[in-house]
């Protein structure tokens, strides 16, 4: 009998002990999920605030934010001007870090391949069908490329990674821009689709002769080869934290909504992009405590939290990007009060 009583007490204690802990709910991009996971973990151990983030995809994050079922969203694709106006002109984009989309492939012997924008476009357009195609062979003279069919792998689900990649393709290939354009989901001419970055990575690893686009983090964790890509300044760039940071060393707009692909930066990796946290600029519909906690979180993510990025192979914000993030966070208000003024340090 006493054991039962004890169990009941501890059960109740479990429920109520957590009763005054705030839980923030967020949803969105899969790309930064490993980083956000680590960040929120760390944040909880320091500040005892729980964050429930579900990686349902960039578009999902936007939609749930608009439906107000989550407290913040996350996306690799920024909301267009048109849509921003449609939603009421009240959503802010806070840049958190920068990611690289790499071309990963499965070739016998794992050679280090160089690719140009033309070659990449033509592969995904289905015009270059074999690995030993003269265009590829010419710029990779030291590698014996096999007479093997190229199997293209792309995303099956809507994704910010796809958005960054197709944004790049649209900039470097007129044919691509005209026929297929850029988006989170597009009408791929050829290839297999797989769900999420891990899905694409998985298929690439399994299918000999395949090539696909994935975020750098996933390529590194899965020990996969990825290509050096020729950038706007005719340099062959290896994707890395460094080259990705360089890509962001350009003039950034005040609201941070900018595409980093095909960057002008000389040593920048050409297929890079920001990932943002999305929030309303006016949090008056939430309770004040929660609104304050959100701003605390955003500030922490763009400052102390940044040190978690590099060890996980994400490029942290450059000083320029960080100061823009600060300006944006300072716009968030609650009943005409700027929440940043009462931030907890």
């Amino acid at each position: 009998m006493r054991i039962l009583f004890f169990l009941l007490l501890s059960f109740l204690n479990l429920i109520y002990a957590h009763a005054d802990e705030v839980t923030l709910i967020g949803a969105g991009a899969t790309f930064p999920y490993p980083l956000y996971s680590k960040m929120f973990q760390e944040y909880y151990s320091i500040k005892k605030v729980k964050v429930n983030y579900q990686a349902i995809g960039s578009g999902g994050g936007i939609r749930q934010l608009i439906n107000k079922t989550v407290d913040f969203g996350a996306s690799d694709a920024f909301i267009s001007d048109e849509n921003l106006k449609k939603y009421g002109n009240n959503i802010l984009h806070i840049p958190i870090c920068i990611g690289a989309v790499v071309l990963s492939y499965n070739l016998h012997g794992n050679p280090a391949i160089k690719l140009t924008p033309e070659i990449i476009s033509n592969i995904f357009l289905g015009k270059i069908k074999k690995w030993n195609n003269p265009a590829i062979a010419t710029i990779n003279p030291d590698i014996k490329l096999p007479d093997q069919q190229i199997v293209v792998i792309h995303r099956s689900d809507g994704s910010g990674t796809t958005f960054i990649f197709t944004d790049y393709l649209s900039k470097v290939s007129e044919e691509w821009a005209k026929k297929f354009g850029k988006g989170k989901s597009i009408n791929w001419p050829i290839g297999l689709g797989a769900k999420g970055n891990p899905g694409v990575a998985g298929l690439i690893k399994q299918i000999p002769g395949s090539i696909g686009y994935i975020e750098l983090v996933y390529a590194l964790h899965n020990n996969m080869s990825y290509a050096q890509v020729k950038n706007k300044n005719e340099n062959y760039i290896t994707p890395s934290i460094q080259s990705v940071s360089y890509a962001a060393n350009i003039e950034l707009p005040e609201d941070s909504r900018v595409s980093l692909t095909n960057t002008d930066a000389e040593q920048g990796y050409p297929i890079s992009g920001f990932t943002w946290i999305l929030t309303y600029n006016d949090l008056s519909n939430l309770n004040r405590n929660k609104a304050q906690e959100l701003v605390n979180l955003f500030w922490w993510m763009t400052h102390e939290g940044q040190k978690l990025a590099a060890p996980l192979e994400y490029a942290p914000l450059s000083p320029k990007a960080q100061s823009i993030a600060e300006q944006i966070i300072k716009k968030i208000k609650y009943n005409n009060e700027i929440l940043w003024n009462t931030i907890s340090k």
Binding site: D157, G158, G181, S185, I186, N187, L192, K195, P208
Partner: protein, 295 residues
């Protein structure tokens, strides 16, 4: 007094039982109406071309679902054909030959476990164990070694839907009255002939119910299919090639679809799925009514 009380309870009983159908009607009506409302924009914009066109383009907002309809029907029918010999055999074995005993109990448990296996696990097992085998086969056959594709998805689907037919069929087969079976034996029939002429016709409606259950599962299965079918939004060139089903494309694109027409088109696919299922079930019902034997 006691007499009246009992009649009242009976009246309550009948009232409750007779109201229940309206609950289901309300549910289905709500489903149809909700889907229709949300797919209306797509219906208005594309009309019949939604069914005849296989172009699915979220960037230029042109949507046609022919490719998905095709792959959905192909994979469902293929998986059903593959699964039937196995599920019916097992149902006959457990419902007729070995109704009792340790082996029977064991097999029943095994089948119920198969039914309870989450679809994601089928997906992963399919992806990591089955697909490489399929790939080797494809290399031998000289086709592109995708591994994933229509055939792979259909085979794993077949494994998934076996339990549904088996469990229900076994149950109805085992409930065939013993006196009918004994009567058949006493007339000199072998077990095979008894099964063919007595057990089967008697339990046909129940077996068919199990088959429909399996078919419904196959049409609507999302997670395992989406991992194994290759997710190419076009009509498959061959059975070994990739395709995409209606349920899979909804799962893939729903959370991301922020464009209104894109979202509406996905709802329309959901509505079409509902309509296709309705048609198949209507046909099925006609067949069942022809074969039903009263007990």
């Amino acid at each position: 007094m006691e007499h009246n009380f009992k009649i009242n309870k009976d009246r309550l009983y009948f009232r409750v039982i007779n109201i229940s159908p309206y609950f289901l009607i309300f549910l289905l009506a709500s489903i149809y109406i909700t889907l229709f409302i949300f797919s209306y924009p797509a219906i208005k914009q594309f009309g019949l071309s939604f069914i005849t066109s296989s172009k699915w383009d979220p960037v230029f907002n042109k949507f046609g679902s022919l490719a998905f309809i095709y792959s959905t029907i192909v994979t469902s029918i293929l998986s059903l054909i593959i699964s039937l010999p196995f599920s019916i055999s097992l149902a006959i074995y457990l419902g007729f030959y070995k109704k009792e005993g340790k082996i029977a109990e064991f097999l029943k448990t095994v089948i119920e476990l198969l039914a309870g296996m989450p679809s994601v696990i089928y997906g992963f097992w399919g992806l990591f164990v089955f697909v490489p085998l399929m790939r080797n086969l494809e290399i031998k056959l000289g086709v592109l070694p995708y591994g994933v594709g229509i055939v792979s998805a259909s085979i794993i689907l077949a494994i998934m839907i076996i339990p549904y037919t088996t469990i229900i069929s076994r149950e109805v087969i085992s409930l065939v009255p013993n006196d009918l079976i004994e009567a058949s034996y006493s007339l000199g029939a072998t077990k095979y002939e008894t099964i063919k002429n007595v057990v089967f016709p008697y339990s046909l409606s129940g077996i068919f119910a199990g088959v429909l259950l399996s078919f419904g599962r196959a049409i609507g299965e999302t997670m395992a299919v989406t991992m194994l079918i290759g997710n190419a939004n076009s009509i498959p060139q061959s059975l070994f090639g990739p395709g995409n089903t209606m349920a899979s494309v909804i799962a893939n694109e729903f959370t991301e679809a922020t464009g209104d027409i894109h979202l509406s088109s996905l709802f329309l696919i959901g509505l079409l799925l509902l309509i296709i299922t309705s048609i198949f079930n209507l046909l099925g019902r006609v067949v069942i009514n022809k074969f039903k034997i009263e007990g």
